[in-house]
Symmetry: C2
């Protein structure tokens, strides 16, 4: 696993309200699609997405408590890497919340929870540019 | 506020156990100091720190529930920026959990919670290198 955080996703109750908040702080979205807002930051991308959708996509049971609604994503260049990192995480003691599978956006992703309940997605998204250091590029410019 | 996430801090129950987990996944710390582990990633830095210490430092009441133990940090080049961004966040509807004040590490920081309970620290840390894009450099190499 490369040392990279590709995306930080904030699960929110109201995407518009949250986007207005970050806009008020000076953040300008690079892309808004399917009620998801992407802000290109310094390598890492900040994403606003419905908390219920994020939980469902990541295999998180949000009724059990303990999850704050945030998830980190580690993007890679192939499905094989998604599977290899998921296996490594499992061996290291992570709880796999989403076994590697195709995603609704045409990618391939898995999800795990570390010992302290912090959630990671490991994803291959052919629609995103992936820099050598593991950063993704949303804006395309 | 520049579009940057300088650090992602995972509040953990046992820093050694958590560090062992991330080491098993291939992450190598750039620095370990005062029971805090820093991993230099792609611009952003991943930090492991005791959840109780993180909560105390950020002014988070961890008994009220809702917080998952994760915090984002936005580092800036001066105390004045810490204050200006905190004011902007307050005007945008954030809850200020830590008014701008000196930190134990010789810096100056504030903390706020957005509408969905996601926590940000706004910090000036003279001990960290700060790149033009808002990324911090821990390793110094």
């Amino acid at each position: 696993m490369k040392q990279s955080i590709s995306l930080v996703t904030l699960g929110v109750a109201d995407v518009e309200r949250s986007a207005a908040f970050y806009r008020a702080l000076g953040w300008m979205p690079a892309m808004e699609i399917q009620e998801t807002v992407f802000f290109q930051a310094n390598g890492v991308v900040l994403v606003l997405w419905g908390r219920d959708k994020l939980a469902e996509d990541m295999g998180i049971d949000d009724t059990r408590g303990g999850w704050g609604g945030m998830a980190l994503a580690h993007n890679v260049g192939s499905r094989e890497e998604v599977e290899a990192i998921t296996d490594d995480a499992r061996k290291a003691g992570a709880t796999i919340t989403r076994e590697p599978a195709e995603t609704f956006y045409g990618g391939y992703a898995a999800g795990f929870r570390d010992h302290d309940g912090h959630h990671w997605e490991v994803a291959h998204n052919p629609g995103f540019g992936l820099r050598p250091d593991g950063s993704v590029e949303i804006s395309g410019d």
